[in-house]
């Protein structure tokens, strides 16, 4: 069942399904490697859940919770 990237726990992996963002913000996340089909893993999560660091395409990238909430993923069980 698809959920958002912000809902994943530390160490959990998922495939990106969709970016519910537009314009420059969408472009920016895609340039950082968050494109549909790509595998991501949660590397670190602040206690408050914001920010969250992900490993995507071999590099650690931190996102704001608000950004992660707009990325739909399919968890890899």
């Amino acid at each position: 069942m698809p959920i958002t990237l912000a809902e994943l726990d530390r160490g959990q992996r998922a495939h990106i399904v969709e970016l519910r963002l537009h314009g420059l913000e969408r472009r920016r996340l895609m340039d950082l490697g968050f494109t549909p089909g790509t595998e991501v893993e949660v590397a670190m999560k602040a206690a408050s859940g914001d920010p969250i660091a992900f490993v995507v395409r071999n590099t650690q990238i931190a996102l704001r919770k608000q950004q992660a909430e707009n990325i739909i993923v399919e968890p890899i069980s």
């Binding site: 314009g23 420059l24 472009r27 920016r28 340039d31 490697g33 395409r57 071999n58 590099t59």
Partner: protein, 274 residues
């Protein structure tokens, strides 16, 4: 080889014909820009080329450090500029704007894109974006030792064929590949080597819009090297490109464009209304 003392020597085992010229960067023959994602070894390569004496300051009007150096190789004098590390040239950040403006308006004779051989999937995004802007590109396929350590085999020749530009395997930290890189850069800047950069084919209706914009842009900015790229960004609604055109941030680069006028911009905007 780190700490090599060959600054004034004519040859040394790891640097071949490289002579570092430090801050003596007047009257160079060719200008080289180093681009790449963060942590790919740009500064390592920059230091290997220009030696310890470099000119550092800030990019005009920015808080980002700008490093310049110079070296001589096979009798040609080069000025080299270390661009900020970026994942993209399209989005909004000071670093990306600096890198993009320099590649687009700084008239470098060659852009060396330093890539991490262990993370090509990520790194090639920037390579393709640079190839959209200029065909004078050499890819420095760095961190080959790391790739080997991880059991990865990267086929540099196949990559070069697919990208349409030369790809030089390197271990910048050990000075490996430096001479091959410089020979390739020389072949490119002197016209001995032609590239055929891989570019994305646009949808017919977008291509049509680009074609409508081109004559206007060529008219307004005759000195610009890539009107097509500019047209695509304007169609995309990129606010930083519009800003770069309107403000004098372009005049701060090596080769300023003709003075900009507001009427020119309105004419362009009228064309964009289509």
């Amino acid at each position: 080889m780190a700490g090599c003392q060959c600054a004034q020597a004519t040859t040394c085992s790891s640097h071949g014909n490289l002579i570092r010229l430090g801050v003596n960067i007047r009257d160079f023959d060719y200008l080289i820009a180093l681009a790449g994602n963060p942590n790919t070894g740009k500064t390592t390569l920059f230091n290997a080329l220009s030696g310890l004496r470099q000119h550092t300051g800030n990019w005009p009007g920015k808080t980002v450090v700008r490093s310049e150096g110079a070296f001589r190789h096979n009798g040609y004098k080069y000025k080299v500029v270390d661009l900020p590390g970026t994942y993209s040239l399209l989005s909004t950040s000071e670093d990306e704007e600096i890198a993009r403006d320099f590649i687009l308006f700084g008239n470098p004779d060659c852009v060396v894109v330093v890539v991490d051989a262990t993370a090509l999937e990520r790194n090639l995004n920037l390579v393709l974006q640079v190839l959209e802007i200029t065909d004078r590109v050499v890819v420095a396929l760095n961190l080959m030792d790391e790739a080997e350590r991880k059991g990865m085999f990267v086929d540099a020749r196949k990559l070069a064929k697919e990208l349409g530009v030369p790809v030089v395997p390197m271990v910048a930290r050990e000075g490996k590949g430096t001479d091959h890189l410089l020979q390739t850069v020389q072949d490119l800047v002197t016209g001995n080597l032609r590239t055929q950069p891989r570019r994305i084919e646009l949808d017919p209706h977008i291509e049509e819009a680009v074609q409508q914009l081109l004559p206007h842009l060529k008219n307004l900015y005759p000195n610009l090297s890539n009107h097509r790229w500019l047209a695509m960004r304007l169609l995309e609604g990129d606010p930083s490109i519009r800003r770069a055109i309107l403000t004098d941030s372009l005049a701060q680069t090596e080769s300023p464009l003709a003075p900009q006028k507001e009427e020119d911009m309105s004419e362009l905007e009228a064309a964009l209304e289509v």
